[in-house]
């Protein structure tokens, strides 16, 4: 037995290049598995715990206004476990430097504990209902505090009901509904500089908004086993006198749905990527073991002749595969844990979620089991031929590899024109069917991973271009507190440096169609507007119709409505009675994030039975004057928010670094995968044909010509792999996008020509690098040694 182990180690050592190449591929597979599984488990656990601790709501009901007491009434409905009634309202914030931000002012009945969507204090102390020295106290989300350089004890200034109200910051807190804190779906990423969550006691909110004893939102946690649909409709009925604005379940809650889709896509990736790497590592191991066994056939025969059992010999070869797995699992787990730490940190910058950390012994254990199963499977199926080796037969000279006609030989016209060296390569590739398959498959996988990585880069690029260079061309977008007459914008257009002002109205609506209803926003654009354009699903710009409506793709899908259908639109402004009208669907637009329905400004006014009101305007300004204009706009009361396109772009760009890092790592891993495949394939083919290659040298072929032969072999397998890899990569991208698409987020798979070219170039790079690594030793090919032995 001892001899067997000696032989094992000698085997590993003499194939150390291949051993480490395979161990490296397993390392990558395992590290991806460990890193992603750990991160997404952490994220999932943290999410669950945070939701539990803070009674995250199952359902949200928005009303115009309702007496505080409805909370108690709803709590009495069977199936309702917890209810919190509150006021939430977006307000404008005037920063110290005079510039604008917006805040989601959210209020909490006291005491806080046990409330639905309660918050967790991070710094400072909780607010008090009636501070000793008067005024109002607020908690801020920590990202806003930090991004704006605020300190506890300082004041923030909001505008509510046309008045400036100071709030004293007494602490920071995070809540389960603000984990991913974006204002609405049209902002791609959090921008804590211009959007914050301000938390105050309910009584203070009632005072600020002049709603004594009133609330505008009811949050509900259902009892386990409740008939949710029935309970929801009961609550809706109860609330209908108060102006039902919206009612939606947890899955439509903004932060939750984005976090969930991140988790879903992450969990898919956590399986998908490791499987590719491990499957390829296993395939290489199988063919490598088969080759080793073929080479060592007579030794195996001798051992079996000496009475060593099949099982012992099998175990010997399996342990080779297991040794590779062990090295891969060990280094992979360590690397994976390191990666997961930085991934966790990355997520911490996107998500306000406590305790995204820790490592799971279970995952490490799984990773070892996974690696061991890969090793076992590869070992057993690779060494299966051992069983058939007959001790007596194995001593006899082994039948050399049988060459037969390959496909190309069916086209004699071409075949005859090939030089003998090319014929050699084609036949060798055709003869080693299994190895060729693995090599081609490996290159396909590496190239498609490359393409997917480049595609992720394209996707970000596409989003930025589509959104900021095609859909919205304004420099600033201004939104008012409430609908105003369009003449109100005169003051803005008179500002020095403002070149053009285009008006619009945004009306929150409920759209009804065939018994279904969906909440959305109707965006009415003034005639001749050019700064905001809807696009159809083919990416063509669309004209805004004078009458009727352009439905957002997602809304249309939810409603089941098509072009030509008549839909019912109910306005849900939180002031005034709802207005109901019928509109015909003129066309359907595709929005990258969320949904917007477009119509003309006049049609939108007709929905409100108004003639000339707007809720905002878009500006083009002299670039040199933008700072001054921003400052002047900030002084105008009645303006709720000012969005600077450039600042949004800057903010997104600053967050893209980490995505780029991820893309870079994926490209690097794909490169290693390709390199390992090519290297192993060449080394195997080289070891097998050493004798023949040496005989070419004795004939008078140069070393260059002989290694050129190996290059021919490689190219014959790798070039088809490269070519197949591109459509495969595209297909995988489509598959990936479709599996992570949600109601709120869908994405066209648009891959730039440059990405195809880059994938091919990097592919060619790993082919040549693998070839170089594998044939470095060729000059030491010993002709004399080789000419001596049969095998």
């Amino acid at each position: 037995m001892y001899v067997l182990y000696r032989k094992l180690w000698r085997g590993i050592w003499s194939n150390k290049g291949q051993f480490f190449a395979m161990a490296l591929v397993i390392t990558i597979g395992i590290s991806l598995y460990v890193a992603m599984s750990t991160t997404y488990s952490n994220l999932g656990y943290a999410q669950e715990r945070f939701y539990d601790d803070n009674n995250f709501a199952d359902h949200y009901f928005y009303v115009v206004r309702a007496p505080e007491g409805v909370g108690k009434q709803i709590a009495g409905i069977p199936g309702v476990e917890k209810v919190t009634a509150r006021i939430q309202q977006d307000v404008a914030v005037i920063k110290e430097d005079g510039s604008r931000a917006s805040a989601r002012l959210t209020s909490y009945p006291l005491p806080l504990s046990g409330q639905v969507n309660s918050v967790a204090l991070k710094q400072g102390r909780l607010f008090e209902a009636y501070p000793a020295n008067g005024g109002a106290e607020a908690l801020l989300d920590p990202a806003y505090l930090e991004a704006n350089g605020l300190n506890l004890g300082e004041q923030v200034e909001i505008i509510a009901e046309g008045r400036q109200v100071p709030l004293t910051v007494v602490g920071t807190a995070i809540g389960p509904e603000f984990i991913y804190a974006i204002k609405d779906l049209s902002s791609m990423v959090p921008d804590p500089k211009t959007f914050g969550i301000f938390m105050i006691p309910l009584n203070q909110a009632q005072e600020v908004f002049n709603l004594p004893g009133q609330v505008n939102q009811i949050l509900v946690v259902f009892a386990p086993g409740a008939d949710i649909e029935a309970v929801v409709s009961q609550i809706e009925d109860l609330l209908s006198p108060y102006g039902n604005l919206a009612s939606y379940p947890r899955k439509n809650q903004l932060s939750h749905s984005l976090l969930d889709s991140e988790l879903t896509s992450g969990r898919i990736m956590a399986k998908f990527f490791p499987i590719i790497f491990l499957a390829i590592a296993a395939s290489i191991q199988i063919i490598l073991l088969r080759r080793m066994i073929r080479m060592q056939r007579s030794q195996i025969g001798i051992m079996k002749g000496l009475g060593v059992s099949n099982a012992a010999v099998l175990f010997h070869y399996c342990s080779y595969a297991l040794a590779i797995s062990a090295v891969g699992a060990l280094t992979g787990s360590i690397l994976g844990l390191l990666f997961s730490r930085s991934l966790n940190q990355l997520y911490a910058t996107y998500f306000n979620l406590p305790n995204v950390e820790g490592f799971h012994f279970q995952i490490i254990m799984y990773s070892f089991i996974l690696a061991a199963s890969v090793g076992m499977a590869a070992g057993l199926s690779g060494s299966a031929p051992i069983v058939n080796i007959n001790p007596a037969e194995s001593m006899r000279a082994q039948p050399p590899g049988k060459s037969t006609q390959n496909i190309l030989e069916r086209f004699p016209f071409w075949w005859r024109r090939l030089s003998p060296l090319w014929k050699m390569s084609f036949r060798s590739v055709a003869r080693n069917r299994m190895r060729t398959l693995v090599t081609v498959g490996g290159v396909v996988a590496a190239v498609s991973l490359l393409l997917i990585s480049f595609f992720m880069n394209d996707a970000i690029d596409y989003m930025m271009k589509q959104y900021y260079q095609k859909e919205m061309l304004y420099h600033y977008q201004v939104r008012f507190d409430q609908p105003v007459l369009s003449s109100e914008t005169l003051a803005i257009s008179r500002l020095d440096g403002v070149n053009s002002v285009e008006t619009f109205i945004e009306i929150p609506v409920k759209i009804h169609f065939k018994g279904r209803n969906v909440e959305d926003v109707v965006n009415g654009q003034a005639q001749g507007n050019q700064l905001k354009t809807p696009f159809d699903s083919e990416g063509n710009p669309m004209a805004i119709p004078e009458e009727g409506i352009i439905l957002g793709e997602i809304t249309a899908r939810k409603l089941g409505a098509e072009v030509g259908d008549l839909i019912t639109v109910e306005t849900t402004f939180n002031r005034g009675a709802p207005m109901i009208s019928e509109l015909s669907v003129v066309s359907i637009n595709r929005q990258l994030f969320g949904s917007v329905c477009y119509t003309s400004l006049s049609q939108a006014n007709r929905l409100l039975h108004e003639a000339d009101v707007i809720t905002g305007c878009m500006l083009l300004v002299d670039p040199g004057r933008s700072a001054a204009i921003e400052a002047q706009l900030s002084e105008i009361t009645g303006i709720n928010s000012i969005t600077s396109r450039q600042k949004e772009i800057d903010n997104i760009t600053s967050l893209m670094g980490s995505s780029m890092l991820f893309v870079g790592i994926m490209i690097f891993f794909s490169l290693i995968l390709g390199l390992a495949i090519i290297y192993n394939s060449i080394v195997m083919s080289y070891n097998e044909r050493k004798k023949e290659l040496a005989s070419l040298l004795t004939l008078g072929f140069t070393h260059g010509e002989v290694s050129g032969l190996m290059l021919k072999d490689t190219l014959i397998q790798a070039v088809p792999g490269l070519i197949i890899g591109l459509p495969t990569g595209r297909w995988l991208a489509v598959f990936y996008i479709s599996s992570v698409s949600t109601d709120m987020f869908t994405f066209p798979v648009i891959i730039s020509p440059l990405s195809y070219v880059l994938s091919l170039l990097v592919g060619l790079g790993f082919i040549l690098a693998g070839y170089w690594l594998a044939t470095r030793g060729l000059s030491s090919l010993d002709m004399i040694e080789m000419s001596k032995y049969v095998d």
């Binding site: 590899g401 060459s403 003998p420 050699m424 036949r427 040298l697 004795t698 070393h703 004399i784």
Partner: protein
């Protein structure tokens, strides 16, 4: 018979160093190989025959001494020059044929033919070695004797001046071995190539013009045969 010297060895030695151990495979050796002769190198296993042959064929380098081909000093030649020497002037035939398993009989010969500017016709060479029938067969589908014929065809298609054969009959049965020797003599007669045959089989010495006897890395004796025996007539 022309007496021109093709390859000249003067005090040639070959030492292999393997860690602590050095093996003197070839001790100071002097030998001239003449154009057009059939030279048989005889000796027991390990006596240095293959070492000598490989030096003559430019497959290996001398440790000391001088080795020249016509006017060219091979002991000073670069790797590329040695490769060119092998390609242009040398044909090798090995005990285990060393054919390319992925090429047919025809293609194996064709492969060698592509190396030189003015090769013999592949078809004629294959006919000469008695294999015009099974040209499309792969080595694995041929008998040992047939494979050795192809390897001879592959060697001679380049019109080498010297055909170096290392135990060409070592893996063959008695009759086949004889027919291969016949073929080698035939090559010598038809193309005038110098044929060097290395063997441990003393009986084969009779078919050469000269016999070099080796023992322990030295040439013990060079015997000139009065006439060349036909392989048919010898026995072992």
């Amino acid at each position: 018979m022309a007496e021109a010297v093709l390859v000249h060895l003067q005090d040639v030695t070959k030492t292999y160093v393997m860690g602590e151990v050095t093996v003197e495979a070839l001790k100071a050796t002097n030998l001239d190989i003449l154009a057009g002769e059939v030279l048989v190198i005889l000796g027991p296993s390990g006596s240095g025959k293959s070492t000598l042959l490989n030096l003559i064929g430019g497959m290996d380098r001398v440790s000391s001494g001088e080795l020249s081909f016509r006017q060219q000093a091979l002991h000073l030649a670069s790797n590329n020059q040695l490769t060119a020497y092998r390609r242009d002037h040398i044909g090798f035939v090995f005990q285990f044929y060393n054919l390319i398993s992925d090429l047919t009989a025809w293609e194996n010969v064709e492969l060698a033919a592509t190396l030189v500017d003015n090769p013999l016709s592949t078809a004629e060479v294959l006919e000469q070695v008695g294999l015009k029938e099974r040209l499309d067969h792969f080595p694995a589908q041929l008998s040992g004797g047939e494979q050795q014929r192809i390897s001879i065809a592959r060697a001679i298609v380049k019109r080498p001046l010297i055909l170096l054969c290392d135990e060409p009959t070592g893996a063959l049965d008695y009759q086949t071995g004889k027919s291969i020797l016949e073929l080698l003599l035939d090559v010598n007669r038809r193309h005038g190539s110098t044929v060097v045959i290395v063997t441990h089989n003393a009986a084969i010495g009779a078919i050469g013009d000269r016999v070099v006897r080796m023992s322990s890395g030295r040439i013990a004796e060079i015997q000139v045969n009065a006439y060349r025996a036909s392989p048919e007539g010898i026995e072992w």
